[in-house]
């Protein structure tokens, strides 16, 4: 993976992470970032999928009987 690609992935992850905040309000800036190149949208979608994958996994935690939630309340 080129440095450029990994930097792009990092930037895309940062956007996916910021958008996950219920208070996120920087949609115009996200629009401008996405408009720079189609590669930005592809990287952003991959970052969103990864984020949703991890969140969906953890949401299943309580139903995974063999592995009860070990975190203290």
């Amino acid at each position: 993976m080129t440095t450029h690609q990994s930097e792009l992935n990092e930037a895309a992850r940062l956007w996916a992470m910021r958008v996950a905040d219920p208070a996120f309000d920087d949609w115009d800036e996200l629009t401008r970032w996405l408009e720079i190149s189609p590669a930005h949208l592809a990287a952003y979608e991959a970052a969103v999928e990864s984020d949703e994958w991890a969140a969906a996994m953890l949401a299943e935690e309580d139903t995974a009987k063999e592995n009860p939630r070990q975190r203290r309340p």
Binding site: R13, A23, W27, L30, A47, V48, D51, A54, A59
Partner: protein, 171 residues
Amino acid sequence: MEPQAGTSGLHATLLNERGRLLRFLAARGATHDAEDVLHDLWQKIAAGPERPVADPVSYLFRAAENHMRDIRRATISREKRQFDWQGLGDAPEDEPAGERILIAREQLQHVQAALASLGSRVDHVFRRYRLDGVGQAEIASELGMSLSSVEKDLQKAYRTLAELRIKLNTE
């Protein structure tokens, strides 16, 4: 049917913000279909339950983001069905349910271990953010941390989980 106050307020906002929303949708993957997508999105909102909206502009952009995610998910599963139908895929839906549960459980254990390896604070911050839906500013005040420390913790978790997902998918 007479539109209710909340919905007509949202529609007024949609008309005001139409240009910004269309530009966002186009950049977000709707490209030349942004107008149709915005139309569909509005139909979806108008058909939904009436609820109070504190910030209509944010609400509409959020709905637009979620709508693009729904479209992408539908496209991916349609392509996958086509792929499996042609006998090209592994057709995991034909796998025994028990096996799928085992795979999911194993992946969950990897996610838990990856988060735990980053330390209990990063683990906690990520769960508050992504599982409980608490914003960064609130997490910062809950834990007496600076906003930038919260962001750095989240970045660590996001990077680690993205790397884990790639690793699990290529194994």
